[in-house]
C-alpha cells in the first residue's frame, strides 16, 4: 500500500510534502551571504567575485540545459565551442576591431557556428542512433573543436584585451571590481534575454513546443529539426558570452583547454538545477561560484587544484541525494 502511494507520489509533478525545504535553504544561504557581507568586507568581495564566476558558469550551464531539454543529450562540446568562439573574438581584435564590435560579431558567428554544427555533425547521428551514440558524437565534437583551436591558433596562451577598465568601486569600505560587476551584469542579461525570447516570441514558443512534444509540434506546423539547430545556435551564443567573460577574468588564461574546468562547474550547476531547468541552472551556477570562492579563500586546505574535485563532489552528492536536482521534477524511469 505504502509502495503504491510512494509510486503515485513520484508520478505527481508537485510533491507538496518536502517542497518547502529547497526554498527555505536558499533563503538561508542568501541570509548567510548578506549577513556575512555586512560584517566583513573581505567576505563581501569574495561573495561578489564568486557571483561573477557563477555568472560565467550560469551562461554555460543554461546552454547545456537548452540542448538537454531539446534532445536529452549532454553537449560535452559546449565548452570547446565557447573556447573556439573566444578565439574568434581574439582574432577579430588582433585584426584591429575594438572590443565591443568584436564581441557582437562573435555572437553572430557563434550562432551561425552552433547552427551549422548541429546540421553537419549532430543531426546525422541523432537520426540513426541511440542516446549513447549521441553522447559519443558530442565527445567527438569536443575533440574536433578543441583540436581545431590548437591547430588554427596554436597551443600557446593568448592575451585577451580587457573589456573593462580596471576600476574599483568603493562602497562602504568594500572594494568591488568593475570587472566582477560587469561579468555578473552581462551574464544575467544574456540569460534574461534568452528567457524573454522563449517566453514571448513565436519562435521561442515553437522551440519549447518542439522540445517537450516533438510529434505534436510537427502537427501544428513547427519544423522540429530546424528548432534543434536553432537551439544549438542559441546555446553557442550563450557559450560565447561565457567564454569571453572567462577570458576577461584575470584568473583564466586563453588557451585551447580554457573551458574544460569551467565546463565541469557548469555541469555541476546544471545538475544542481536538475538538468532541465534553466532557472535552476542559474541558481546552481551562482551557488557553486560563491561556494568555491568562499571555500578557496576561507578554508586553508582547499587549494585552486582542489576546486574542481570539490565541484565534482557537490555534483555527486546532488546526484545521490536528489537526482532530479533542487528544482527538477522527478521523472519516472521508463524501462
Amino acid at each position: 500500500m505504502t509502495a503504491v502511494v510512494a509510486a503515485l507520489e513520484r508520478r505527481l509533478w508537485f510533491r507538496p510534502s518536502t517542497s518547502w525545504i529547497v526554498p527555505a535553504a536558499l533563503v538561508g544561504v542568501a541570509v548567510f551571504l548578506v549577513v556575512g557581507s555586512l560584517r566583513s568586507s573581505l567576505f563581501a568581495q569574495q561573495t561578489i567575485s564568486g557571483l561573477a564566476n557563477g555568472g560565467i558558469y550560469a551562461s554555460l550551464a543554461v546552454a547545456l540545459v537548452l540542448i538537454y531539454r531539446a534532445t536529452e543529450v549532454i553537449n560535452f562540446a559546449q565548452g570547446a565551442l565557447a573556447t573556439f568562439t573566444t578565439y574568434v573574438a581574439w582574432q577579430l581584435m588582433a585584426w584591429g576591431l575594438s572590443y565591443w564590435p568584436a564581441f557582437a560579431c562573435t555572437l553572430g558567428i557563434a550562432f551561425a557556428g552552433g547552427f551549422l554544427v548541429e546540421l553537419v555533425a549532430i543531426r546525422p547521428v541523432e537520426r540513426r542512433g541511440s542516446q549513447i551514440t549521441a553522447v559519443i558524437a558530442a565527445i567527438g565534437l569536443l575533440i574536433l573543436v578543441e583540436g581545431s583551436v590548437g591547430w588554427i591558433w596554436g597551443n600557446q596562451v593568448k592575451f585577451m584585451p580587457a573589456p573593462f577598465p580596471s576600476h574599483i568601486y568603493n562602497v562602504g569600505g568594500v572594494a568591488f571590481s568593475r570587472q566582477d560587476l560587469s561579468t555578473i551584469g552581462i551574464s544575467i542579461a544574456a540569460v534574461l534575454v534568452l528567457w524573454l525570447f522563449f517566453r514571448f516570441t513565436k519562435v521561442g514558443l515553437a522551440m519549447r513546443a518542439a522540445a517537450v512534444r516533438p510529434q505534436a509540434a510537427r502537427l501544428v506546423g513547427v519544423r522540429v529539426s530546424w528548432m534543434l539547430s536553432l537551439g544549438w545556435g542559441l546555446a553557442a551564443v550563450l557559450g560565447a558570452v561565457a567564454g569571453m567573460m572567462a577570458a576577461a577574468s584575470p584568473s583564466v588564461l586563453l588557451q585551447p583547454s580554457m573551458m574544460d574546468g569551467i565546463l565541469i562547474y557548469a555541469f555541476a550547476a546544471a545538475v544542481v538545477g536538475g538538468l532541465e531547468s534553466a532557472a535552476g541552472a542559474v541558481i546552481g551556477a551562482l551557488l557553486i561560484g560563491v561556494l568555491l570562492n568562499l571555500l578557496g579563500s576561507y578554508v586553508s586546505w582547499v587549494t585552486p587544484q582542489l576546486l574542481l574535485p570539490v565541484a565534482f563532489v557537490v555534483m555527486l552528492i546532488v546526484l545521490l541525494v536528489k537526482p532530479s536536482g533542487l528544482f527538477g521534477r522527478t521523472r519516472v524511469r521508463r524501462v
Binding site: 541511440s130 549513447i132 567527438g140 574536433l144
Partner: protein, 325 residues
C-alpha cells in the same frame, strides 16, 4: 554447431594475430618497438573500457583516471619504495580495482547521461588531485623512472596485453559475460532472471578499472616518467575514440582501435601529410563519422562481412542505461 565453427575460426585468427605480434619486433627499430608497446597499452585500456561500456552498457568517459591510478601506483612504488617494475603491475591492478569499485558504487544509481557526466568529471578531477599532493606524486613536475629498452617494453606490453585479452575472453564467454550482456540489454529482465545487478555492475567497473590500472602502469614504464598531464582528459577521450573506432562490444575491434589511436598520428607526421596538431581534428571527425555512418564501429563491419560469431548480433543495440526517449 555454428557456434563451434565460429569459435574455431576465432581461435585460429587469434593464433595468427598473436604470432604476428610476437614476430613483429624482429623487424622494428628500438624506437618503433616502444611505439609498439604503447599500442599494447591502448589495447589494454580499450579492452578495459569495452568491458564496462561495450558489455554492460555503462558509459565511462573517465578511464584515463583509472590509468592514472595504476600509473601513479607503479611510479610511487618504484620511485619511493624501491620496488622493481614488474611486481608493481598486480599492485596497480588491485589499486585500480578499488578505485573502480569506489566509482562504480555511486554509478549504480546513475544512468545514461548522468554516468557520462560523472565519469567525465572524474577524468578531469583526478589529475587535479595528483597536482595537489606533490609529496606523493611529484606534483606538476612528476616523477622520473628508470628507462628500458624498446624490446623489453614491447615484450612486457604485449605479454600483459595477451594475459588481459585471455582474461577478458574467458570472462565474457562464460556466465559472467552472459550476465553482463543481460545487464546491458535489459536491466529489468536481468534482475528478474536472477542476475544480481548491483554486484555485476560494480564488479564490471572494478575489473575494468583494474585492467585500466595495469595499462596505466605499463604506460608509465613506456614513458619512463609520470606527471598529471600524461593522464589528462585527452587520454580518457582517446581511449573512448579507440573503443568507438574498434566497435563497442567487440573484442576484435580493440586491436583496430588501439592501432588507430597510436599509429595514425605517427603515420600522419612521418609521411608529412599533416602536422601532429591536426590529429585531434581528424580523430574528432572520425568519431562523428563513425557514429553517423556505422555506429557499431569499423571492426563490426568486418565481422558482419565475415559472419563472425553468432552471439554478436545482439551487441548491435547498445543502450545507454535504460532511459527511453
Amino acid at each position: 554447431m555454428r557456434l563451434r565453427r565460429a569459435t574455431a575460426a576465432s581461435v585460429a585468427v587469434t593464433v595468427v594475430v598473436a604470432a604476428v605480434i610476437a614476430l613483429l619486433p624482429l623487424t622494428l627499430s628500438n624506437y618503433h618497438r616502444a611505439t609498439g608497446a604503447s599500442v599494447a597499452v591502448f589495447f589494454v585500456a580499450i579492452l578495459a573500457l569495452n568491458i564496462v561500456t561495450g558489455y554492460t552498457g555503462q558509459i565511462s568517459i573517465g578511464h584515463g583516471a583509472f590509468m592514472a591510478v595504476g600509473g601513479y601506483t607503479t611510479a610511487i612504488l618504484t620511485h619511493d619504495h624501491g620496488w622493481s617494475d614488474l611486481p608493481t603491475l598486480p599492485a596497480a591492478a588491485i589499486v585500480g580495482f578499488v578505485a573502480g569499485v569506489i566509482v562504480g558504487l555511486p554509478a549504480l544509481r546513475f544512468h545514461g547521461v548522468y554516468l557520462a557526466l560523472t565519469t567525465f568529471a572524474v577524468a578531469l578531477a583526478v589529475p587535479q588531485l595528483a597536482k595537489n599532493y606533490p609529496n606523493f606524486t611529484g606534483g606538476t613536475e612528476g616523477l622520473a623512472l628508470p628507462t628500458h629498452s624498446g624490446l623489453w617494453l614491447y615484450e612486457v606490453g604485449w605479454a600483459v596485453a595477451g594475459v588481459m585479452f585471455v582474461i577478458a575472453w574467458f570472462l565474457l564467454r562464460g556466465r559472467t559475460g552472459r550476465a553482463f550482456r543481460a545487464v546491458r540489454d535489459s536491466e529489468v529482465a536481468a534482475a528478474s532472471s536472477g542476475v544480481t545487478l548491483a554486484v555485476y555492475k560494480t564488479v564490471a567497473f572494478g575489473i575494468s578499472a583494474a585492467m585500466a590500472g595495469v595499462a596505466g602502469s605499463v604506460y608509465v614504464l613506456v614513458n619512463n616518467f609520470v606527471n598529471p598531464d600524461v593522464f589528462g582528459l585527452t587520454l580518457s577521450l582517446y581511449i573512448l575514440i579507440g573503443a568507438v573506432v574498434g566497435g563497442l562490444g567487440s573484442l576484435w575491434g580493440v586491436l583496430v582501435g588501439a592501432a588507430f589511436i597510436q599509429l595514425l598520428p605517427i603515420a600522419l607526421t612521418t609521411s608529412h601529410i599533416s602536422s601532429s596538431q591536426s590529429v585531434p581534428v581528424i580523430f574528432g571527425a572520425v568519431v562523428i563519422g563513425v557514429m553517423a555512418l556505422l555506429p557499431l564501429g569499423a571492426a563490426n563491419l568486418l565481422r558482419v562481412a565475415l559472419h563472425f560469431g553468432s552471439q554478436s548480433r545482439q551487441s548491435s543495440d547498445i543502450h545507454l542505461g535504460t532511459e527511453g526517449r
